[in-house]
């Protein structure tokens, strides 16, 4: 607050505010309702709907002003509900009704100010010329695609020459701010399903209800501020002033004695398996996408819908896409059978649609899993043993017209089948993250053939790694379901804690040691050490061994060209003496 604050009185209540705000905002802070149509926080006040008219007195002079753009000042006395104000609002609403009386926002206003029968009739011109869209397009999107044209009673909002604008960036900001719904995005329904992606529809949103941390995230590629330099409405509206566009990614250094690697997995991208038509055929979606679709916080509010907005009458769920497949991953992803059963259950419950499960074999190994499978059988889900082979568009003209056809071999019946369905869900594999290699290097881990991190011992040390103090948890180690993940996480945490709680650690006496007097600083040992235990001290120009990392393997001792490194307890002399003792 640069200038000192000012005190004003609104409806008899005194309030102290900063000097650069308008009456409307001050009234809001006092909880006083003032109707407005053309005001939108973050956009320049326009003062044209005049709904926010209030009475202002300075000295003996009393006049009506618009509260949205009248600055506050010391000693200002504002009245928001006098007879003069009420009369003005009533007539203004009647004038609005004459333009567009059928829209909800104006009907509600009419109710609020007590207009029951508008005397100038009820028009149906949707645009009330509040200018929000024009300002949004200019100030938020910086696109200037729409503007005012003509004047007086002929004034309209339009694009130049009423043609499709070449500068429109399809951001939809205009439609978003339009209070009467006069602007709509053609094919918006379709657009949403196209983008149904897992993602939120706005450039800033909490990614999912379960997201950790559960805070909004800005998508710089979709954000108008980053793409056009405009908007900034989220920052304007954030009461906590938490939005900072200048914020950059930064590296944080944390000193830790132990590390739990829980980097998770990624899902298999089924578009490489072209036979399933993912990305090519509409209504072929992945299991994760289906999860978003049926989520109450998802883009459709939990309704399972096809791209055209109608509910499917039949759904095929194809198991083992990318798993148990020589071409992609030989392993079983362990979770797909169960979630596929859950999906079938949801479809049944929500739509009563027909569900096909195309499986190789059902792996319902966990506690209560088999019982759930039984329940689904009873619910009437259709199980076909045989992996889905191909998804194609239905042959036009017949029963398959407009549908997707799943081809498969029903190995129990021994027949080839074509199953026409409306929607295909691909139960895709869990795979190691594409950046697992970097993590592997960072922590000196090992990975197994399938790309997941390797534990120190499959039975005796399932959460430890080859590096002391580094533990594994969850799907970064191998695909696993939630109970297993939780269990492993608990194990890793307790292992880590047992080290931390001790507060100190006992080092083995055997480790390498550099004699700084002999070290030439050639750094040959730095690169060779498999445990990254040797670092170079640039000041002293010699290398040194971190005793807590060294495993006393002796590689450096053997490699040092100057003979500056010796293995404690395994010096040349000691070894020779040992040999001598043996030979004696």
């Amino acid at each position: 607050m640069a200038d000192k604050s000012v005190k004003l009185t609104i409806d008899g209540k005194e309030i102290e505010v900063e000097p650069d705000i308008y009456i409307l905002e001050a009234a809001e802070r006092l909880g006083i309702w003032i109707p407005t149509l053309c005001n939108y926080r973050g956009l320049t006040p326009f003062g044209v709907c005049r709904m926010c008219t209030v009475e202002v007195a300075r000295g003996t002079r009393v006049r009506l002003v618009t509260s949205c753009n009248h600055p506050v000042s010391d000693g200002l006395v504002v009245r928001t509900n006098t007879e003069r104000v009420r009369t003005a609002r009533r007539i203004l609403v009647e004038l609005l009704c004459a333009r567009h009386g059928k829209v909800g926002v104006i009907k509600r206003l009419a109710e609020n100010v007590g207009v029951t029968k508008p005397r100038f009739g009820e028009g149906d011109e949707p645009c009330i010329l509040c200018g929000l869209c024009v300002r949004a397009c200019d100030e938020m999107a910086k696109a200037n695609a729409i503007g005012f044209a003509q004047r007086g009673t002929d004034k309209i909002v339009t694009t130049p020459y009423h043609e499709e604008s070449e500068t429109c960036i399809n951001c939809g900001a205009c439609a978003k701010v339009c209070p009467t719904g006069a602007i709509y995005i053609e094919g918006a329904q379709e657009l949403r399903h196209d983008e149904l992606a897992l993602g939120p529809n706005a450039a800033i949103a909490v990614p999912t209800m379960q997201a950790v941390p559960n805070v909004p995230r800005l998508d710089a590629d979709a954000c108008l501020h980053f793409t056009t330099g405009g908007c900034g409405i989220c920052a304007t509206n954030c009461p906590a002033k938490a939005i900072d566009y200048e914020m950059q990614d930064k590296e944080i250094e944390v000193k830790a004695g132990t590390v739990v690697v829980a980097t998770g997995f990624q899902v298999f991208d089924p578009s490489v398996a072209e036979q399933y038509g993912y990305g090519r055929l509409p209504n072929v979606i992945t299991s994760l996408e289906f999860e978003r679709l049926s989520n109450a916080a998802g883009p459709t509010g939990g309704k399972i819908l096809l791209r055209n907005g109608t509910p499917p009458a039949s759904v095929a769920i194809l198991h083992c896409i990318g798993s148990r497949d020589e071409h992609y991953h030989r392993y079983c992803s362990r979770v797909c059978c169960m979630y596929s059963l859950k999906f079938a259950h949801l479809v049944h419950e929500k739509l009563g649609a027909r569900v096909y499960q195309l499986y190789i074999d059902m792996r319902t190994f966990g506690k209560g899993y088999e019982e759930f499978y039984d329940r689904l059988l009873k619910e009437g889900a259709l199980f076909i043993r045989g992996k889905g082979a191909e998804v194609t568009p239905g042959v036009p003209g017949g029963a398959e017209a407009g549908k997707l056809v799943v081809k498969c071999e029903d190995t129990l019946a021994g027949v080839q089948r074509r199953i026409p369905v409306d929607m295909v869900v691909l139960s895709v594999a869990l795979e190691a993250r594409s950046d697992a290699r970097e993590v592997e290097r960072l922590f000196n881990l090992c990975r197994s053939e399938d790309g997941f991190f390797l534990e120190q011992h499959p039975k005796l040390a399932p959460v430890e790694t080859t590096t002391d103090g580094v533990f594994l948890a969850g799907c970064c180690q191998s695909p696993k379901d939630i109970p297993d993940t939780v269990a492993q996480g608990g194990a890793a945490a307790s292992q880590a804690l047992s080290l931390i709680l001790r507060g100190e650690t006992t080092l083995s006496g055997a480790c390498a040691e550099v004699n700084p007097d002999l070290c030439s600083g050639c750094r040959v040992c730095n690169e060779l050490c498999p445990y990254s235990a040797i670092s170079y001290d640039a000041e002293k120009k010699v290398s040194a061994v971190n005793e807590s990392l060294c495993k006393a393997c002796g590689t450096c001792v053997a490699a040092c060209p100057s003979g500056a490194i010796k293995g404690k307890h395994f010096t040349k002399e000691q070894i020779l003496a040992e040999i001598e003792g043996v030979l004696r």
């Binding site: 200019d138 200037n144 695609a145 729409i146 503007g147 005012f148 044209a149 003509q150 004047r151 002929d154 339009t158 694009t159 130049p160 020459y161 009423h162 500068t167």
Partner: protein
């Protein structure tokens, strides 16, 4: 205001370029530039507006808004002669509505339109400030005062 006609002739942009160059320095002269363009071409041809938008880096919405806000501009070609009927208060009470009705009937076009043969554009203006000579009709910047419906018909006959 009508915005399109079928017959929009091809436009030579070269003279417009010259005008724009003269204005490139001062942004605030957009309206003066449009007035010059209007004078040069008789209207604001669309390619010229597009050119101005590009050269002066102005949003097309702004130019279109200006062109439709101010009465001095037209987005469609005008006739060879411009008949402007003054409908200021004095002219109104002295019979300007009759003059306008007579002209509309005589020319076969409504106010704001151009005759089919491209001879006249009929417009009106709210006062030319020669009220003592009301009612006034201005033809191509030349004012004619104290007109009656019969006289105005005779007057326009002099313009080919």
């Amino acid at each position: 205001m009508a915005t399109r006609t079928a017959r929009e002739p091809a436009v030579d942009l070269a003279p417009a370029e010259g005008l724009i160059n003269a204005y490139v320095e001062s942004r605030e002269a957009t309206i003066a530039l449009l007035q010059d363009v209007q004078k040069l071409y008789g209207y604001l041809p669309r390619p010229v507006l597009d050119l101005i938008a590009r050269r002066l880096d102005l949003p097309r919405t702004q130019l279109y808004g200006l062109a439709t806000f101010y009465k001095a501009f037209s987005l469609v070609p005008r006739g060879r002669h411009c008949i402007t009927v003054c409908t200021g208060t004095t002219c109104h009470v002295k019979g300007a509505p009759h003059l306008l009705a007579t002209l509309e009937r005589e020319l076969g076009c409504r106010c704001g339109e151009t005759t089919k043969d491209g001879r006249f554009t009929l417009e009106r203006v709210n006062c030319v400030g020669a009220c003592a000579r009301a009612p006034i009709v201005v033809i191509d910047e030349k004012p004619h005062g104290r007109l009656s419906p019969a006289k105005v018909i005779k007057t326009i006959e002099r313009y080919e």
